[in-house]
Symmetry: C2
Subunit: 704 residues, 2 copies
């Protein structure tokens, strides 16, 4: 397969089927772009009506070409596409790009045609890009292929960009060229009839031309697969995804807490984060970051040095750097002394170092070298405010030369003078990433540092606990063919106990004084009393819960109180089937733990702050199952309330190891039983004492 | 005074003192810029060594000029500036800009000189811009003054920009010109020796040329004044401030909870928000917003219509719009039917309306008009992905013409094709704001809608409660000349009772069984027992608090338990001075309420979620005192926990009116007694029952 993708990105010969000799048509533009960009291979226009296209001999059909063809780009009218695929097969072409639109995206008729197209290529073992796409670009100097129909001269670099949207792809091609961003490869995947984002990502994983991967997707075909691929790729190459991508999943009306918290965006966030993907909000952010990864090395630490000729921009840089997790350390006395020899005495020799507007190209270059040698910093941001008397390009060039071959992360902020970039590129083609303002540079460095840390995280192991799987199987079998249902509470308890998930002991008592007192004898005081009834869902709201009951007398009184409360709310006494009695757990922190099954992404486990704060702060995080020990650890640490869990005001930390164990057992449970749709432990009380860590309430929804 | 500022921004004659005849010097550049931009008044270069500067007769001194001079721009070497001010006075010039640097910004010697400069202008009643600034621009067609030394041709528009940083000012001037952003006036205020940001803002308040105010400040001289001015201005004109601005305030080591939460940025956020100011993070964000305010009207509601020729960008637009508080409603059937007549049947007629890449200038123009007539939308975003066969400028022009005179907010997204703007400007000078990508457009519309809502908020009244001010005066007098101290708890209670702030009843008992039992008799059970001692600050951490004590026996046992806990923590028994007894309050929500005195901004009241969650979520907000009834209301509603306060899981809402009353009483207390430095009510328990709303713990720090 990889060789078929090689032929898509690195073809030695390309047939453009449907190449027009009429200027300004799409196919004419595409061939024009290939010629202008200097494609190193051979182009074979196929057009029965033309003798030549762009001065190149044209062929009446694919079969008429004697040479081997690596790649066919089909730009024929829609109804001729299937025939062309047959021709490709006859000509032994197995790599095809279909630019032609009018398929799935226009409705039923088109979708029907696309289905036939897919059947055909599967049969012929052809790999297909598109249909409804805008082409392929490879800037590799041995290929130089601009086989897209957007006019432009992409700058060579290390960025791979895959776009699901043609229009966005076109806009991005314009943007990167305007902003001196170096592209390695571009692919517009259109309707993804065969080659999807996942396929391209896997191909780019080991491609030496690709240093950074950027992705615009509107939908994820296989989110879990995407997570697994990116989790591997991101250990060596950064992957940046623009936020638009969604699964329709979370849109589903959710009935559990966990489900309600698993919004579409939350699920996407979860699996992107789990894959180590950097998610951005805008195209500009995506390429600000991509160019930084492409043009500079990862920082070895989070200490940032700043060199500037003006105070204002440095303040903006410091502000944003601190927000992005960077430190602005003191530079060494040695560096300060060296700087003092070249800069005026009014200069500021503390980080940010301000060498004042009088600094010329020579001083800027020397100061850059001195800062880069400082052992106290890991990254250097050089800011160049519009110099009053000097040529910006000259100073910038001097900075770039000083930064060349530096063993540190370097960024250059030109303060709105990016008009000099074309000039600078001629003077010094290999320059650090250039930013218009310091804020975006600071954010990029911060992201690079986060990414560096992610790379250092070990992969982790999936633990397997010794559980009673057979028993759960047996329980679930009792509800076969019942469809989507909640398990009764006693079944829930049995399931959880089989996986050693610490559901609190409980006893059921009919509404009958002796009955509850008998149950209390077994459980022991203090107790909690809860109303039970099929229609009594929100127990607290109807006054159906009494806590901290100390003796038989209080117990009986509590039963009466619940009946009264229900009466006040106008709830019929007959709805009450009885009472649930549970030991009353004092202290600890109420967390929420759960599972949600996304129709596309599969199961996600959730953890966060529980109790009434669930709805207010939504301080929960998700991860796709199965989760490794490392992922369980990181899940617990990623919620804001981690600070609380660690213990505030003299409290000891909760038993984190036990939290992680429970998350992994939960993960194992849903991996073993995919028919489980939702699980809610709310609250799951944790404290430092493992004996006191208990699930106080649990719900399980299955689809059997 | 206003006439002196008129002479700065609208001078009929300008003397450039120190104008050089040597090209490439700063003063040569400045005169060059004035000439090139077509200043409509008279320029008088003053230079004893030159006969002419830029072909204009030069004068040996100000006195040698016969004409009246409105404005003197001084660009002399530093040590000649004071003499020049004397000359200005002799020439009866009262409006001066000092470009010259080398004053306060370079250290002590310069600061000394600046002090003399200020003394001189105060004496002469001269108003001064600078020193160390880069000049003034006014694009009004009757003035056309570009008296700054950054090369450029500012585009005329309605934006006023005041910058404390010269370098940032210069970069911004480049940015706005590149991005087709219309400037009305620009002022670089440099060291703010006389004219500060506040002065400029007040001047611009009623200036008809200024539609939007943009501000870059690194420091606030008088934050409270700034808040008061902006609170008034923003009722008619938006003010946008870049985030860098800080007060050094919050940096101070804070000892109270309130103080710890009042970080520098929190305080700035608070008074900017209170002034209705829009705070942004980057220069790009600032001008994205400013151009939207300048070139389009405020939306009348939050319903956004989107017209596009490509799906991808529309998805990005919808995502960001929803995040920015906008709705994407269905458009009317009537509009859909009209659109069906001009667009292909494959087009999408639901909002976002996608008229496909085939849409030409005519179709785009018509569709724009149709959408603008739709009653279901308040704003229209027109997105133009790179058209395949057509000229972008032509389509854009057609859209602009259709949008002209529209009674709705309109934005145009050119998807990276901003290179056509110069062409478009010639075709249609009055065009809507243009964005490169839909995300920034959506954010701008969202901000405009928020601003529209802010404008509708009434000003509110400062309530005055009938309190016992004399008693507080008397209490504070007891601690005169003690410096910065915490009031003892009994004094705190007295102060709060004098202002009817509901501190819980309490009694003090020496460590002596009979004593606490006696106190308990007065207060009644259930009780809380707290260890008291000068050095016992963190009572909970040392196990010095027992709650829910029901009878004498439990009380005595609790005393012993506290002693034991202290012993375990190695705390000497002698540190215990006795016990505080308070009624045990069940239920309600723990909030935190407090006051912090910022050295520059003055007092701020704080409110938010209390208890252990203070440190975890920092869910608190601040407002400068005195706070009006409307501000108290908005303060309570601005915290995230408002949702919790409104009642979750069947709980009734807390008594909001009473929360607001307490905030206003607190505000009155610190307004009456500025010597109060910090107040902490933590927790202040609120419930729906006013009788049960109690301050459970309080601290007051004063500086007497």
């Amino acid at each position: 397969m990889s060789s078929q993708l090689d032929k898509i990105f690195y073809p030695k010969s390309v047939a453009v089927v449907g190449a027009s000799s009429k200027p300004s048509t799409l196919s004419w533009e595409l061939v024009n772009n290939m010629l202008k960009y200097g494609y190193t291979g051979k182009i074979f226009p196929v057009n029965p009506k033309a003798d030549a296209v762009h001065s190149i001999k044209s062929y009446p059909s694919l079969m008429a070409i004697k040479d081997d063809i690596d790649l066919a780009i089909i730009m024929l009218p829609r109804d001729m596409v299937l025939q062309a695929i047959d021709d490709c097969h006859k000509k032994k072409i197995t790599s095809v790009v279909v630019i032609t639109a009018g398929f799935k995206e226009v409705g039923n008729e088109g979708a029907e045609l696309e289905k036939l197209l897919v059947e055909k290529i599967k049969k012929y073992k052809i790999r297909l890009v598109g249909p409804n796409c805008m082409g392929i670009i490879n800037t590799n100097q041995n290929i130089k292929m601009n086989a897209a129909f957007v006019l432009g001269t992409p700058i060579h670099g290390g960025i791979g960009f895959v776009s699901q949207s043609g229009a966005l792809g076109a806009a991005v091609l314009k943007t990167v060229e305007q902003n001196d961003i170096g592209l390695a490869q571009f692919i517009s995947i259109g309707n993804k009839a065969d080659i999807s984002g996942n396929v391209v990502l896997e191909y780019w994983k080991d491609n030496p031309d690709i240093k950074v991967i950027t992705v615009y997707l509107e939908s994820f075909g296989q989110p879990k697969k995407f997570m697994e691929i990116t989790r591997e790729i991101t250990k060596t190459k950064p992957v940046i995804v623009i936020k638009s991508a969604r699964t329709a999943a979370g849109m589903k009306a959710a009935s559990s807490h966990t489900g309600a918290l698993a919004g579409a965006d939350t699920v996407v966030d979860a699996f992107l984060e789990q894959g180590g993907v950097i998610r951005v909000n805008t195209v500009d952010e995506m390429f600000d970051l991509a160019k930084a990864f492409d043009r500079s090395m990862l920082p070895k630490g989070n200490r940032l040095g700043i060199l500037t000729n003006a105070g204002g921009p440095a303040i903006l840089a410091v502000d944003e750097a601190e927000k992005s997790g960077l430190l602005i350390p003191e530079i060494s006395e040695e560096t300060k002394n060296k700087l003092r020899e070249i800069a005026p005495k009014e200069a500021s020799f503390n980080n940010p170092v301000d060498i004042l507007p009088s600094a010329d190209a020579k001083v800027y270059g020397m100061a850059t070298s001195m800062m880069l040698e400082d052992k106290n910093i890991d990254s250097l941001m050089v800011i160049l405010g519009p110099p009053l008397m000097y040529d910006t390009a000259e100073i910038a060039c001097s900075i770039c030369r000083a930064a060349k071959n530096a063993d540190k992360n370097v960024t250059l902020v030109l303060m709105s003078q990016d008009d000099i970039i074309p000039k600078l590129r001629k003077m010094e083609a290999e320059h650090p990433p250039i930013f218009r303002f310091p804020e975006s540079a600071a954010r990029a460095i911060g992201e690079m540092w986060s990414y560096k840390q992610w790379q250092a995280v070990p992969t982790g192991k999936i633990k397997h606990f010794d559980v009673n799987k057979a028993k759960v199987r047996k329980i679930l079998n009792c509800y076969k063919n019942k469809g989507e249902i909640y398990l009764p509470f006693n079944a829930v308890c049995e399931v959880l106990k089989s996986y050693e998930l610490p559901i609190i002991d409980s006893g059921f008592a009919k509404y009958d004084v002796n009955c509850s007192v008998e149950v209390a004898k077994v459980l022991g005081y203090p107790l909690v009393l809860k109303a039970v009834g099929k229609d009594l869902i929100h127990k607290t709201e109807i006054g159906g819960v009494v806590i901290d009951i100390h003796n038989d007398e209080e117990l009986v009184r509590s039963e009466t109180r619940i009946i009264d409360n229900m009466a006040k709310k106008g709830i019929d006494k007959n709805k009450l089937e009885g009472f649930l009695l549970q030991p009353y757990v004092r202290g600890g922190i109420e967390t929420i733990m759960g599972v949600f099954k996304d129709p596309k992404a599969g199961h996600l486990v959730m953890f966060g702050l529980g109790g009434v704060y669930v709805e207010v702060f939504k301080d929960v995080k998700f991860k796709l199952t199965p989760i490794s020990d490392i992922e369980a650890k990181s899940l617990v640490r990623s919620v804001q309330s981690y600070k609380l869990f660690k213990g505030v005001r003299g409290n000891p930390p909760i038993d984190f190891e036990y939290v992680e164990e429970n998350l992994m057992r939960l993960s194992q449970l849903v991996e073993d039983f995919p028919e489980i749709e939702e699980i809610d432990f709310n609250p799951f009380v944790f404290s430092h004492d493992r004996e006191k860590c208990k699930i106080l309430d649990a719900r399980i929804k299955v689809n059997l």
